[in-house]
């Protein structure tokens, strides 16, 4: 199969690297970037499951609103303040809406993309033995955990969890007179402030590591796009999160001290919260998609056995999206009463994002042109990402266009759009990434048939769930409605809501195939070789799983870019970055950046 023998292969089969750390230091308070990445993986998969359960409860209510004949399954176990006689209360529904969004965005997708993969991949892909600040890295994970616990605990306090939406618009979110929730809303703010510290520690680490700790020969333009995307995402996190922290602190003061930053009494400004939140929030949206684009580029090039099309353009497009992300936040506020001239300006900047997004999409297609495509499971997820991201991106053009946004804003069209980007985009990329790097992480392959079944069913049910939401939205179905049948014009579309709910339940059920596959493969999967996908980037030069320190004391030397598939220089259809073709290659390599 391969004519290339990796220098590290020999080491991988050598006597295992002696590791005398205690169990606690090795697996719990570990400073090893790989263990921290895996810790983040388990944490965020747990929250993904929680967020999914909340979504199912919401969908149940939307399909059969307050119908005593179709009580919420398991509703009997919940206290009277949430579900009474099988009927969900509106305040609990609002909590579900809020917590589903918050948990998915901050505790599932964001750590799944950044916490897991930035930690796991960056040092491996740039050829470092660990992060620049391993202890800070550990602190980052152990700050995220209490943040999650605080968030979860809010379900069990008096008044229930936060219920002002994941966007927490003031004054609803700051004054319990209006929302009926005091402590839950405070815990929400506190949890996100705490999580901000975790993200901040992470991104300082990632940036420093990438800038200062690249292996010899690893110039910036030889970094895999995953690392590039994670690098730029880290910069976004670094600069966006403090703004959210500032906004949340003002909110917390409003909630606890009786200040009026966001309340109109005494001159506070509800729109101030929106400006600060979305100034953070739009870069946040790109934090949730850029790493996914990076993983997909890596997987796509590998599956296509062809160099990525337009590497430089891909890097520039990531940077372009990241920069534009700072100047478009107003498109979340077109209907907010913001100055209409600002609205027009934000429309133009927002539509410009179509340009780098189109570059990426066309380049992915270009990568497939005249390729030799292997449909392994990660590749299928990556392809699903491309096709679903196109839908999410195109529906974004409707919402970016100010006049068309008037009827669509705050309707299910927005819900459809965000889920096409965050589920169809980010989550497919995450499934792709997990199945792609699982062998490296755990030294075992995931089960293929289960992987194919999970992919196919997820793809089908995902589209059945979220595509009809576009039509609900253009039909005038508002978001966050506890009982749509209260509106005669929406009651007509109730059968669509039922259809969506059934599809969503099937989609949720399908995910258990993935869970079973994950845990079964963890213990029983076939042993993985160091480079099961015949890939080029550095992580595949390390043993599976890589030992503590990754490289057994010898940093790899990089000779070329990460996408040299089908290179004429070799017989095999791949050419790893570490392989020296012409001896002595080391001294001839350019070292400058």
């Amino acid at each position: 199969m391969s004519t290339i023998v990796l220098p590290q292969d020999a080491q991988g089969h050598a006597a295992p690297h002696h590791d005398d750390r205690s169990f606690v230091r090795k697996y719990i308070f570990s400073t090893d970037h790989k263990i921290i990445g895996i810790q983040f993986l388990f944490m965020s998969l747990f929250f993904l499951l929680v967020g999914g359960i909340l979504a199912m409860a919401m969908r149940w209510q939307l399909a059969w609103p307050s119908d005593p004949n179709v009580p919420l399954p398991g509703g009997g176990m919940l206290p009277e303040t949430m579900v009474t006689n099988g009927i969900m209360l509106p305040e609990f529904y609002n909590s579900l809406v809020t917590m589903h969004g918050t948990i998915m965005v901050f505790f599932a997708i964001m750590p799944l993309l950044v916490g897991v993969w930035a930690n796991y991949l960056i040092p491996l892909q740039i050829g470092a033995e660990d992060m620049a600040f391993p202890r800070l890295n550990m602190a980052s994970f152990w700050t995220a955990v209490p943040a999650g616990l605080i968030m979860m605990s809010s379900f069990f306090v008096v008044g229930g969890a936060a219920n002002a939406g994941w966007t927490g618009y003031a004054p609803l979110s700051v004054n319990e007179v209006y929302s009926g929730v005091k402590l839950g809303q405070q815990l929400w703010a506190l949890s996100l402030i705490t999580l901000g510290f975790s993200s901040l520690m992470g991104s300082v680490n990632y940036i420093t590591t990438i800038v200062n700790m690249r292996a010899p020969g690893m110039t910036y333009m030889r970094m895999p796009l995953s690392t590039w995307a994670l690098f730029i995402t880290s910069i976004l996190i670094l600069l966006a999160i403090p703004v959210l922290t500032g906004a949340l602190i003002l909110m917390f003061f409003d909630q606890t001290l009786g200040t009026t930053f966001y309340q109109p009494q005494d001159g506070g400004q509800p729109l101030l919260w929106q400006h600060l939140f979305w100034f953070f929030g739009h870069p946040e949206v790109y934090i949730l998609i850029l790493p996914a684009m990076g993983f997909v580029s890596d997987i796509l090039s590998n599956g296509a056995r062809k160099p990525i099309f337009g590497y430089t353009a891909m890097v520039l497009a990531i940077a372009g999206i990241a920069f534009l992300g700072w100047v478009v936040w107003g498109h979340h506020m077109f209907m907010s009463g913001m100055n209409p001239m600002l609205g027009s300006t934000f429309m133009v900047t927002t539509m410009l994002i179509a340009v780098p997004s189109a570059i990426k999409t066309f380049n992915w297609l270009g990568t497939l042109y005249r390729a030799n495509i292997r449909f392994h499971v990660p590749m299928l997820h990556a392809l699903a990402f491309v096709s679903m991201f196109v839908i999410g991106g195109l529906s974004g053009i409707f919402l970016a266009n100010t006049p068309v946004d008037i009827p669509l804003h705050d309707t299910y069209f927005v819900v459809a759009h965000i889920h096409y980007v965050l589920f169809g985009g980010s989550l497919f990329a995450i499934f792709g990434a997990i199945t792609y790097w699982f062998p490296k992480m755990f030294g075992r392959m995931m089960n293929k048939p289960l992987g194919y079944v999970h992919f196919a069913l997820t793809f089908v049910f995902f589209n059945l769930t979220f595509f009809p939401m576009h039509m609900l939205g253009s039909g005038g179905h508002m978001r966050r409605l506890y009982d749509p049948t209260q509106y005669p014009n929406l009651a007509e579309m109730q059968d669509t809501n039922v259809f969506i709910t059934i599809s969503a339940l099937l989609l949720f059920g399908t995910q258990f195939i993935f869970l079973v596959n994950f845990f079964w493969s963890l213990f029983k999967g076939e042993k993985a070789p160091s480079n099961p996908w015949e890939a080029n980037s550095l992580e595949w030069a390390a043993p599976s799983p890589p030992p503590h320190g990754n490289w057994d004391g010898v940093l790899p030397t990089v000779h070329r870019g990460p996408y040299e598939y089908a290179s004429p220089e070799t017989e095999a259809d791949y050419l790893p970055q570490t392989v020296a073709l012409r001896a002595p290659a080391r001294t001839h390599e350019p070292i400058g950046d």
Partner: protein
């Protein structure tokens, strides 16, 4: 725990040592000037604000360039240090536009 693969010794390359006391004197004079501008002069409000902001930015630059040694750092670090400034301008600029 961090490693120091780069040529630079810990604590920075030897560099020209600026006259720190002179910078201090400048900062002191500028502070006095600010208070005088704010309380003694009778300039129109807009001019006053502009002058005060210029003086403040001047002082901030002195601190960043000399006390934080930015003047003696590699140019790449300048890029890092300047990264958030456009964003700050965008945020504050939009907020001003919205307020007017």
């Amino acid at each position: 725990m961090e490693t120091h693969p780069v040529a630079e010794p810990i604590g920075g390359k030897p560099h020209a040592s600026p006259n720190y006391m002179l910078i201090w004197l400048f900062l002191f004079i500028l502070t006095v000037a600010e208070v005088l501008v704010a309380f003694v002069s009778h300039l129109p409000k807009t001019a006053l604000i502009l002058i005060l902001l210029v003086l403040a930015v001047w002082k901030a630059l002195l601190v960043a360039l000399y006390y934080m040694h930015l003047k003696f750092e590699p140019k790449k670090l300048w890029i890092v240090a300047a990264a958030p400034l456009p964003l700050v301008l965008i945020l504050v600029g939009t907020v001003l536009m919205e307020s007017w």
